[in-house]
């Protein structure tokens, strides 16, 4: 940007006022000011968009890898492991006991991960401390039965194609809230393309609004 252009631009800005331009010295300063403005703006915007998420989230590795695709292949569906209890409540992440329905103290497959599983958890009788991508705050009540049994939704709508994955992605924990990045969504602006890209209350409400005509009363989903 030439000094001349700067001057005109500043002149036009000034003309909002009384139309009298300031002294030459001031104009230059203002021109430089604009440059500084733009540089600072771009720098801050980019660091806010690219650097900030890196600082905000800490990456954590799962205890060992889990091959969903393999297990779905063996078990046939999601519900075998992620099952309902008799009272209609949902078990969520299976407990060790559920794994032991198929697994035993002997390794079934060939992966190193299974070896870890057997050695560190099965033999030690310890629950696997999975990080749960979809973990919601304590104040949320979510009825899986209402969604999958009554409304006939499938798992993918909210959880995506995790069942087809062969490895677990790293868990990115929000350092402030302690929740997974998947709740806010991978996109730091919160923009979503698929229904499973974000798991905030607004996403629930939007779907409820669309499907039932009302976003629902507080207690429908809170406790």
């Amino acid at each position: 940007m030439s000094e001349r252009e700067n001057k005109t631009e500043n002149g036009s800005m000034e003309s909002v006022g009384e139309g009298t331009a300031g002294e030459e010295k001031d104009d230059k300063g203002l021109g430089l000011g604009v440059i500084f403005f733009i540089v600072a703006f771009v720098a801050c915007f980019l660091s806010g968009t690219l650097l900030f998420p890196k600082l905000l989230y800490s990456k954590k590795e799962q205890p060992f890898n889990f091959d969903h695709a393999l297990h779905v292949g063996e078990a046939g569906d999601c519900e075998t492991c992620h099952s309902f209890r008799e009272d209609g409540s949902f078990t969520g992440i299976p407990k060790l006991a559920t794994c032991l329905d198929c697994h035993s103290e002997e390794v079934l497959g060939e992966t190193e991960d299974e070896a870890v599983f057997v050695e560190e958890y099965v033999l030690e009788e310890k629950e696997v401390p999975w990080y749960v991508y979809s973990r919601q705050p304590d104040n949320v009540f979510f009825s899986h039965a209402a969604h999958t049994q009554t409304a006939g939704m499938d798992c993918v709508t909210c959880h995506g194609h995790i069942g087809e994955s062969t490895s677990l992605k790293p868990y990115e924990e929000n350092r402030i809230t302690g929740y997974s990045r998947d709740i806010w969504g991978k996109n730091i602006f919160g923009i979503k393309k698929n229904s499973w890209d974000r798991m905030k209350m607004d996403d629930c409400a939007a779907c409820h609004k669309e499907e039932t005509g009302h976003k629902g009363y507080c207690f429908q989903c809170h406790k």
Binding site: D26, K28, G29, L30, L32, G33, V34, I35, F36, F37, I38, V39, A40, F41, V42, A43, C44, F45, L46, S47, G48, T49, F52, L56, R85, D87, S89, T91, G92, P137, D138, N139, N174, I176, T177, G178, Y179, W184, I188, F189, G190
Partner: protein, 714 residues
Amino acid sequence: MKVDRRSFLGLGLGAVAGVAVSPIGIKLTDDSSIWSQNWPWTPVPVDGEVTYESSVCSLCPGSCGLSVRKIDDRPVKIEGLAGHPVNGGGACLHGISGLQYLYDPARVKTPLKKNGDKFEEISWDDAIALVAGKLADIRKSGSPEKLACIADKEQGSVSGLFQRLLKTFGSPNFYTMPSLESYLELTAEVLHGEGMTIGFDLENSDFVLSFGAGIIEGWGSPVNCFKANASRKERHAKLYQIESRLSNTAANADKWIPIKPGTEADLALGLCAVILENKLFNSMAVANFRGGLNKLAAALQKNYSPSKTAEITGVKVSDIEKMATLFAKAKMPVAVFGKGRGDGAQSLKELAAVHTLNCLVGNINKKGGAFVQLKSDYLEFPDESMDSIADAGFAKNKTGRYVSQLIEKVNESSKPVVEALFVYNANPCYSLHDAKSVKQAVGKVPFVVSFSSFLDETAKEADIILPSHTFLERLEDVPSGAGLAKTVVGLTKPVSQPVFNTKNPGDAVILIAKALEGSIAQSFEWESYDECLESVAGGIWDSLSEDGYAIISEGIPSGFVAVNVSYLADNPATIQAQGDDELILIPIDNMRLINAGIAASPFAIKTVSDNVLKGSDSVVEINPLTARGLKDRGYATLTTPIGKARVMINLNEGMMPGVIGMVKGLGHTLNTKHMSNKYVSNKGINVNDLIGPVIESGSGLDAAFGIKVKIFKA
């Protein structure tokens, strides 16, 4: 180009604008609020599978069935068990708050040994060895009777094991704390003969004449009584409550008859007099009376004419006559005794006089009346093997008939009357009258072993504490008693893994017995308490383990019941309160507090009215007429012959003039240097620090219903 102020301005504005359109602002705003919604120091309860387990409550003699909701292995809520023969759903606040006892960090977490004025943690093995060693020494010295035990009750297998240990050790000195059940048995013994007990068919009676029995204050089996009381209206049954204070029972009754404290026996006899005089009695029943009915009648005519009774009791002549008539003419009347909860001091004269009313109208073993039957004995312990020391020791006389007499003897004697004392499920240093002198007596005993789960007032005096599981961690048979019309034995089950390093007290006794070796060990050949229970409860074990309870007797007992009125015919004297002041202090039973050994839970304390407890002050009830210069919610000093206390005043029209009421169950001092129990400790005053025992001649019972008191503005 010169970098000047404006450049910096541009830089600053650019940075602000850049940050503003970047997601930082919105994300941080959102995240900080999410952080505040999930503060790391606010607990998040872990979710899991919901299951329910049934058990039985043993916090009080009520023996209610409980349903415990668990999340995975973690009990989270206690509720009444629907369909249980005692409570049939519903539960009292103490049972519901049971988990606060279970998880209480102020529990005794491991065996403790007193060293100077401090407790030290020791292992179970060391603790048992220590106790056994001490006992062996006593036995060796040739006076095994100097081992005494104070327990809460006689019934049940754990109490049975304690009794068995004492017997095989060679001591007759097994004592129980006063309880409604003990008074029922005593009354039955005096009027009907030994080995009997009494129950009241409140749920069917159409006229309940209650001599201060706190039917909805926790008397008897509380929830059962609540239910019987609640159904009264539908059954068109009446409740007359005779009491100096407008208790909740009095307020809920059809009629409240205020009476001078301590004259309930006189009123009962006055009513007997009217019934006898007007021939309102059941002549069939009376025909079988023994022990001098005519003598009794004559004495009553002389001493308890309606006008004389009115003078003594403060009840109007017309009310006396009306009550006697209503009672005698009701289809299914029943008179109940046991002031308050019935576990405080009582006089035998009163117990007998009230029950004589039942006998006179012939409602013994009739629907809606009083059920008199043999004490249930469902446990079958194998015969003890007794060595010569045991035989000789056990044959000796008990040191005193009741625990209060034992305490008196210990305090009076300069030589140790008791060498070792076991205390199980009892807190005499808190719940007996003149608690300070009780504490002194316990302090004089060279070796005290407490089996308490909590560091209560008595446990603090102990040399060794062998901490017990709470009722939620152990297996135990829980027989109902407490005036229930039916006899039910419930089974307490461990609904939780032991939270601390505690044991079932039954196991502790078995271990001690085994360590004592010889004939004592031979009498305790079970591997564990659980095995012992299964074998001694043989007859009902299947029912216990399958249903969670066994009904021993239900419905109207059959058979003839003899009545002997000789005790009353001898015209025993009525107890007078200690002291010479004008006003009288009486203890009040409050459902939201516990008067037995343990303190009420934090939840229960929370529900207590600020007209009962304010900060750390006890509030006393006093009629405005009696209060003179005292202001509502002002402070006053109470002085009785045995103690002094600063209290807050509650002007209460429900209190009889001349009487001051103070609640029982406050004033626990559970704090120690190392363990604070601030939620339930140091709250108010223990009324037993202000009231001293008054022993009724003849019966030997502590029958102090109150004490004379002075009150001044503080």
